[in-house]
């Protein structure tokens, strides 16, 4: 199956204050979140919503590393907003690292505010499979 370019069926998300509070507590920040944290929307939320990247890309968890993230904010997303999320495997590449072959996958997510489907956020995550 051709994975590069694969687009997953869209899923919907609403920001959840309890999850945001756990993120902040994890960061050591005690205050309750007043606004939706800038990186609240994250690719990981797609894993239980049909975007099973690790299985599709055949990356066993113990061989997976996270190489980076990119966010581009285009419009604010508030607590009462609902977004539609589309994920696309943008690129796959194999590189020779110091300790053997590394395999990179860049996956792009677009978050669109409903009901108008206004593009509000782009997120790219780079996953690595160690050889």
């Amino acid at each position: 199956m051709q994975l590069e370019g694969k687009v997953y069926p869209p899923y919907r998300l609403k920001p959840d204050r309890a999850l945001a509070a756990k993120m902040l507590a994890g960061q050591g920040l005690a205050d309750a979140p007043t606004t939706v944290p800038p990186t609240y929307f994250i690719f990981l939320r797609g894993e239980t919503r049909g975007v099973d990247l690790f299985t599709d890309l055949d990356i066993p968890r113990e061989k997976a590393l996270h190489a980076g993230q990119r966010y581009e904010w285009l419009a604010p997303i508030g607590w009462d907003d609902e977004v539609e999320v589309t994920a696309r495997i943008a690129s796959l590449a194999e590189k020779q690292g110091k300790g053997g072959k590394l395999w990179f996958a860049d996956v792009e997510y677009e978050y669109r505010l409903l009901p108008a489907r206004t593009l509000a956020l782009r997120e790219t995550t780079r996953l690595v499979k160690r050889g």
Partner: protein, 127 residues
Amino acid sequence: MTPLKQGDVVFDVTRPGASREQLALFSAGTEDPNPIHVDEAFAKRAGFPAVLQQGPMTTAHLGALLAERFGARLKSLDVTFTAPVFPGEALRLVARVERAGADLVCALAVHKQDGTQTARGTAVVRP
């Protein structure tokens, strides 16, 4: 407020090392199912000395600090993770103005207390 110029430090903040409980909270908050952040035995099987702090926690620190300073003017944030972070390791997060033009471009660097760079990146801020 005086406009920022090239070389200005936007922030230079040290976050204390996170506990294993904090890592578990962050995983729960981001719906991250990867046991490598919470299961010591799993992390060791994967070749690490302890559970790994989430890269997205570094991104979240940077995003929060940038949003605190620039609010909705924050346009983009690009972060590359360069070394793993383990529980208890404090992080020094620095943003410095690289270019002040139509947009403000900030260079980001995150180091552990032993000097190891654990992330680098760029943030772009609207005028």
